[in-house]
């Protein structure tokens, strides 16, 4: 499968701030991929570099194998929806939806109408007067109905409540199934989206810290809880990702436990829970001070 998004040694500096630091990864065509990380980690900048809206300081960003800057042929196959999208003064929701087909060749008006009903957006209201959730809804509608080959959704559901978000995931999956394309979703609400993602790229302070298939990450770390002495005994010689203690109880997060290991842990009286994708990412992106990997003595 060809890579639809490729990033090589990409660096972007704004004055003294390094927003993206020597990033390298690629994303396969035709999947729903996640670009995850904390607020301000560099997700939006990365997407702006990939859509030619920002200029690289060094390194390369490629979509469809080409440089996106001023590249009409490549850009017309892309739709980039971001929360900070500005709209011309006086534009109402209906103006945005009227203008969208001019920019996206594969625009589906019927689908857009369905989405408007699904999200209950007031089309006659000026964009400036819409609530955050309503603006996001318009963005989501444009992002989904554009049917663009490469769709970037940057925190598309800021301000959307849990019900609307659920609707978004369902609509995304449904439409993605019928009209396969490549979707890159950036979010800090990881657990909600975790099951939808194929590849997960995690960025922290501008650097790529995780670049793996979601399936690989799933179950890649396990937390064991039990009597402190039992826990320590079990953790000896294993890769410890995190450890905590409270009174006589200790918890330790270990990487790479096989099902046999888990059975052994159960026998040792330890309670095992898998680390969710969100917890994994939180621990790797500057959670608390317990982010050091260490070999237990």
């Amino acid at each position: 499968m060809t890579a639809i998004v490729e990033v090589e040694g990409l660096t972007k500096r704004f004055g003294r701030v390094t927003a993206v630091d020597n990033a390298t990864f690629s994303l396969e065509e035709g999947g729903i991929h996640g670009l995850l990380g904390r607020n301000g980690a560099g997700k939006t900048t990365l997407m702006q570099l990939l859509t030619g809206q920002e200029f690289v300081t060094s390194g390369e960003a490629r979509i469809f194998g080409e440089n996106p800057v001023e590249n009409a042929a490549a850009l017309r196959r892309v739709c980039f929806i971001k929360e900070s999208q500005v709209y011309p003064d006086g534009y109402k929701g209906k103006h945005v939806l009227r203008a969208a087909p001019w920019f996206f060749d594969a625009w589906d008006s019927a689908f857009a109408d369905r989405l408007v009903k699904a999200f209950d957006v007031p089309l006659d209201r000026p964009m400036k007067k819409m609530s955050r959730g309503q603006r996001s809804a318009i963005g989501v509608i444009v992002g989904l109905a554009s049917r663009a080959e490469l769709t970037f959704l940057d925190e598309p559901y800021a301000g959307l409540d849990a019900v609307a978000r659920r609707r978004f995931y369902d609509l995304l999956l449904e439409d993605y199934a019928e009209n396969p394309r490549t979707v890159v979703l950036s979010t800090h609400l990881i657990d909600e989206a975790a099951n939808l993602l194929q590849r997960v790229v995690v960025i922290d302070h501008g650097s790529i810290v995780i670049d793996a298939d979601a399936e690989e990450l799933r179950g890649s770390a396990t937390t064991l809880v039990g009597k402190a002495s039992d826990v320590e005994a079990f953790a000896t010689g294993r890769t410890v990702v995190d450890r905590n203690a409270l009174g006589g109880i200790a918890s330790v997060t270990l990487a790479g436990l096989s099902s046999e290991d888990r059975r052994a842990a159960a026998q040792a009286g330890l309670e095992a829970t898998a680390v969710s994708l969100q917890e994994l990412i939180v621990s790797r992106t500057g959670g608390t001070d317990a982010t050091d990997e260490e070999e237990a003595a």
Binding site: G31, Y176, R218, Q267, L277
Partner: protein, 118 residues
């Protein structure tokens, strides 16, 4: 869907469970990849991986242009596979636990008889 194991495995297991309890009949059609993905709210590629696992194991087969179907004899095969692992997966932990609680073999046999005859 739990966080512990790969989702595609859980999909495969869910389908196997449905075949075993009879809700998916032999030669009957299995939900499509897209239906599975949407129902479980997972990535279609993952659903596909789970289904393919069963196709490779001979539990499901594909009819071009129509969909996925349960293979003949799949239920019997799954039953015998499960039976083979029964001792290791369920009896051994039972025995270990019984030993830990200092229960004797005869007591455990009685308990098993009572449960089986419920």
């Amino acid at each position: 869907m739990d966080d512990e194991r790969p989702i595609f495995l859980q999909i495969a297991e869910s389908l196997e469970a449905q075949i075993l309890d009879g809700s998916l009949a032999e030669e009957g059609q299995v939900p499509s990849i897209n239906e599975l993905a949407q129902f479980h709210r997972i990535n279609p590629a993952t659903a596909l991986k789970g289904v393919n696992r069963l196709v490779e194991a001979g539990v499901l087969y594909k009819r071009r242009g129509i969909g996925m179907f349960v293979a003949e004899g799949a239920r019997a095969r799954l039953l015998s596979d499960r039976r083979a692992e029964f001792a290791e997966l369920h009896v051994r932990p039972l025995a270990e636990r019984a030993r830990a609680l200092e229960l004797g073999s005869a007591e455990v046999h009685d308990m098993i008889d009572k449960e089986m005859n419920r």
